[in-house]
């Protein structure tokens, strides 16, 4: 199967760089699978799972917290606020974060606080979901 080069970067580090067969990401419009020689494509990404099929056929799963994907002939790049491999997700922390977000949502005084709490909740739920998807 033909492969292409994928890069996942966050402001804190280059999270992943390598040759892959396929990557499936969740965009605001739905799940999109990207294979080699995909057309030029740019989309916004909400929090969601990323599934990567490596060069050797193994699959890896990661949780992505908001960003964008950019496909160009030379390279596919995913810009993310944060990413974690499914096996690295701290479930306890994500659960606490979920509780905290729910509490914030309850106590939010204005639209802005509510939106912030909802985004935090989505990130926490995404982490928990991705973490449970791995097995």
């Amino acid at each position: 199967m033909s492969t292409f080069s994928l890069q996942i970067i966050t402001p804190e580090k280059i999270f992943f760089e390598g040759t892959v067969q396929r990557v499936i990401i969740r965009t605001t419009e739905g799940d999109v699978g990207i294979l080699a020689k995909h057309e030029k494509y740019v989309a916004a990404l909400p929090s969601g799972p990323v599934k990567i099929t490596m060069e050797d056929g193994t699959e890896r799963l990661a949780a992505l917290s908001g960003g964008a994907v950019k496909v160009s002939p030379a390279q596919t790049a995913i810009l993310a606020n944060a990413v974690e491999w499914a096996e690295d997700i701290d479930v306890d922390w994500a659960k606490r974060s979920e509780q905290d977000a729910l509490r914030r949502k309850e106590n939010s005084k204005d639209q802005q606080e509510l939106e912030y709490a909802e985004m935090k909740l989505k990130r926490a739920l995404n982490r928990l979901r991705v973490s449970s998807m791995k097995d």
């Binding site: 402001p11 804190e12 740019v42 916004a44 810009l79 944060a82 802005q112 912030y116």
Partner: protein, 288 residues
């Protein structure tokens, strides 16, 4: 007389020595913090370049592209985000950035436009709490621990204000670390998004989902967060570099003072010994 003089000098040497120990320690702490901060600010560069490149492409390739974040507006308040340190003892570090921001505030005022502020760092919030300008938000003690989420939270706050039509522009005042030996206060316009290459008429070959405008606008919080993150980290690194330099100078000065005082002390000691000898000899002579 000589003995009391000697005692006083000795006491001063002791006090300068203990000051030097503190400045030396602060210098070392700043050095190690600087190293970490520099790493962080370098790691943010690839992300930011790619983000900016993507935004430029969206704006230039899409036909009839239009966004509230790129149009210049003549009226409305301008948000100035002023970043300084949380502590002093860093030479002119805090002052330089305030000078630059204050100049811009006066400039806006003469143009009849309001300048509203957001402050990053304790020194900055202290400085602007004394002025008449409206402060929309203060972010203290975040330089060392800033994460993408802190930056994103700030960015969303700003985007919100922008969407409600309160703002017409956003500018960041920060300190850029040119090298560990030189830091420079800078002003940077972030909204309207500057320097985007526009070549209308070129048919886009890229498929944007849902639309170029939607992708561009959804990238704005990320872009702002990226800008904020990079500048906060850069400012923090500059603060450490400036403090390291200031403390290095202080340590050098203290060493010089100690050398100076030691010389005085030795002279006084020599003088008192000579005097004692003269007294003994002249006493013996008188007896003999």
């Amino acid at each position: 007389m000589a003995a009391s003089n000697m005692k006083a000098i000795k006491r001063r040497i002791k006090s300068v020595e203990s000051t030097m120990q503190i400045t030396k320690a602060m210098e070392l702490v700043s050095s190690s913090k600087l190293r970490k901060a520099k790493e962080r600010s370098e790691q943010a560069v690839p992300f930011f370049n790619l983000l900016y490149q993507t935004m430029s492409e969206v704006a230039s390739e899409a036909v009839g592209f239009h966004s509230v974040y790129t149009e210049e507006r003549e009226e409305g308040a301008v948000l100035l985000i002023v970043m300084a340190g949380d502590r002093g003892l860093a030479g002119g570090f805090n002052l330089n950035v305030f000078r630059l921001a204050d100049k811009r505030i006066r400039e806006l005022n003469t143009m009849g436009r309001e300048a509203v502020l957001m402050t990053v760092g304790k020194k900055s919030s202290e400085h602007y709490s004394k002025t008449t300008n409206r402060v929309l938000g203060t972010f203290d003690n975040i330089g060392e621990t800033v994460t993408t989420y802190t930056a994103l939270h700030m960015a969303q706050h700003i985007v919100h204000l922008f969407q409600q039509g309160h703002l017409s522009g956003v500018e960041i005042f920060f300190t850029n670390m040119v090298s560990p030996l030189s830091q420079e206060a800078r002003q940077m316009q972030v909204i309207p998004v500057p320097n985007l290459e526009r070549n209308p008429g070129v048919q886009s070959l890229t498929n944007y989902e849902p639309s170029p405008e939607a992708v561009f606008d959804s990238l704005i919080p990320q872009y702002l967060a990226g800008m904020l993150y990079c500048t906060i980290v850069d400012t923090y690194a500059s603060e450490q570099a400036a403090r390291r330099m200031a403390m290095e100078n202080a340590t050098d000065n203290a060493q010089e003072m100690i050398d100076d005082l030691s010389l005085k002390y030795n002279r006084a000691r020599q003088a008192s010994i000579t005097q004692e000898l003269t007294e003994i000899v002249s006493g013996a002579n008188a007896q003999g």
